[in-house]
Assembly symmetry: C2
Homo-oligomer: 342 residues x 2
């Protein structure tokens, strides 16, 4: 069977805090260029790879989560957009564009097809299938409509608001008729929120000595819906500003360096005082809604009602630094790696 060299990003060993570049290494492996008959597998060439905060969790030695950890010495896995090179699977043929879980490498033999999809639409940038139309976009969609129970005119706050998920949450909330405020960690991101993504107000949390005061300034009436991507001190400050019967969708805790050292949340008494509902969720629990999500978002996009900001790095070699950068907020918008343009 023919083989070719295959550049790969390999996971070295379990981490405790945030990932460092040295937790991953570039290796050159080999890939078989044919798919074994009867295997049902698909060989793909990877075009775009997605860097997502949840991947930090897979780098930790913790087995009780919704997804198992990476095995040390194995290739990093994540969402990607790929082109089928060879297929033994009836639903896929050479030349098809696909999105789903793939390897951080040039070529991957796909054997698991959960959330693996053929890309139909071609008038949307291909890389959007790991962002706007992929897991982060669907997280925003399911979280906003299914977890936040929005009502027109409500006050919505989004943290990490210019990120892969937050930027769509804010735009969906605006379209729904909410008043939307976002937080981000640089002046540039705050400008994007206000001038490009249509947020009503935004602030740079790194320049606010008192997050409670910042929230009271931007949302003097309080918060009906908090879409929480960060946890920690921001969540604690938001709790003090929740309105009666408010809702908190707990989507991510990117601010928390480690599980054992998570910052303490002190203001949960507000859940009682204001009868607040707080709910953790994963997009994968709502996959029955995926087709309507794709239809709606493509419509909004074509009508110019939503935009999507990407931070594109070139080359597989750039992937470790890009992943690491997520945890210091280095990325501006959805972080994607372009492995190959086609």
């Amino acid at each position: 069977m023919e083989e070719a060299p295959n550049k790969q990003i390999v996971f070295r060993d379990f981490i405790v805090g945030n990932p460092k570049e040295t937790d991953m290494e570039l290796k050159v492996g080999k890939v078989g260029l044919k798919v074994p008959e009867g295997s049902g597998a698909v060989l793909v060439k990877n075009l775009y790879l997605s860097c997502d905060p949840y991947m930090r969790g897979r780098m930790r030695e913790y087995y009780d989560s919704y997804i198992p950890p990476f095995a040390p010495g194995s290739v990093i896995e994540g969402f990607g957009v790929s082109k089928v090179v060879a297929s033994d699977h009836p639903n896929f043929k050479a030349g098809d564009l696909v999105s789903g879980i793939t390897g951080w490498e040039e070529y991957t033999l796909i054997q698991k097809f959960d959330q693996f999809r053929k890309i139909q639409s071609v008038d949307i940038p291909l890389s959007y299938h790991v962002g706007l139309l992929g897991m982060p976009g669907f997280t925003a969609y399911a979280g906003f409509y299914e977890v936040c129970s929005p009502k027109k005119g409500e006050y919505v706050f989004v943290s990490a608001a210019s990120g892969a998920v937050g930027q769509l949450v804010g735009q969906l909330a605006k379209i729904y008729g909410c008043y939307v405020v976002g937080s981000a960690g640089t002046k540039q991101k705050v400008n994007l929120l206000k001038n490009k993504l249509g947020f009503d107000e935004a602030f740079n949390y790194k320049e606010e000595p008192d997050l409670d005061a910042a929230l009271k300034r931007c949302l003097p009436q309080g918060i009906d819906i908090y879409f929480d991507n960060v946890g920690g001190a921001m969540l604690d400050a938001v709790l003090l500003n929740m309105r009666l019967h408010g809702r908190i969708a707990v989507c991510g805790m990117v601010s928390q360096k480690s599980m054992s050292g998570a910052e303490g949340i002190h203001n949960l008494f507000m859940l009682i005082t204001k009868r607040v509902r707080m709910r953790g969720f994963l997009q994968s629990d709502y996959l029955n809604l995926f087709p309507q999500f794709v239809d709606q978002i493509i419509n909004y996009y074509k009508q110019g009602k939503i935009v999507y900001i990407e931070d594109m790095n070139e080359g597989l070699e750039s992937a470790p630094a890009a992943l690491v950068g997520l945890f210091s907020g280095k990325n501006v918008g959805k972080q994607v790696i372009c492995v190959s343009a086609d």
Copy 2:
């Protein structure tokens, strides 16, 4: 107009941590023995007064809660069972037994009638109308059925399980077909849970060096429903033991001495991992269900399916110490003060 002396428990000044007996004082005021014509008021003689943890919140200078603080120098207010002495209100007449918010004093002129009710049933101990059939019982009922979304066979954990609310939650959960574990702070209370209140298992949290380990021992399969009366370290340990799609009803935080010094909760990441819903609630949001609650609980009680444990103190003078005792777990069961037997 005729007046009579009226022993009263007066609130001295705002507190910061837990109340002390010296935050209240016994005074002898005066009460008019006739109700002013056209006032719509009702004069009652107080028979039983209720000591409830939420009253601590009214002793703090905090105006953004669901109920305003007590005014320093005024008589303490709380739930009580009383007998109407004189009435200018069309729904009440002399001799009626009533329950609702009254004063910590011998006689009270009632002018607000929220949650004020005439007592119909007479084959239930009168004092139960501030417990089993009053606010705490209704809190258990609304919290369990409306907030916990129980399913038969689920694993339920209740903290402060022998208290005014917890003891009914546990019994309702058992009747519903759940497996029920409770925690309490003395051996005597643990025995009551297991031998009198029908809990499947119970433990004394004060004798457990590791709450996580205690929960794993009593609930090896994990927790579907946590009815949280205490907050703090127990909540943090429970979070580590929640099952997929579990629910936490946040009813009280009696363990938390003050708002500003609340213990940090570190394990909220579990809300995401296990897709848990956490919800604060107040019984007063569910008052439309009160009639069916009374019917159901009276039925269960008459059928011998539920019991209710009270801790009865004699005399208005005993009220401050009884209230203070709630916060060290001195009470065994629902804390009531008998001001007068009739």
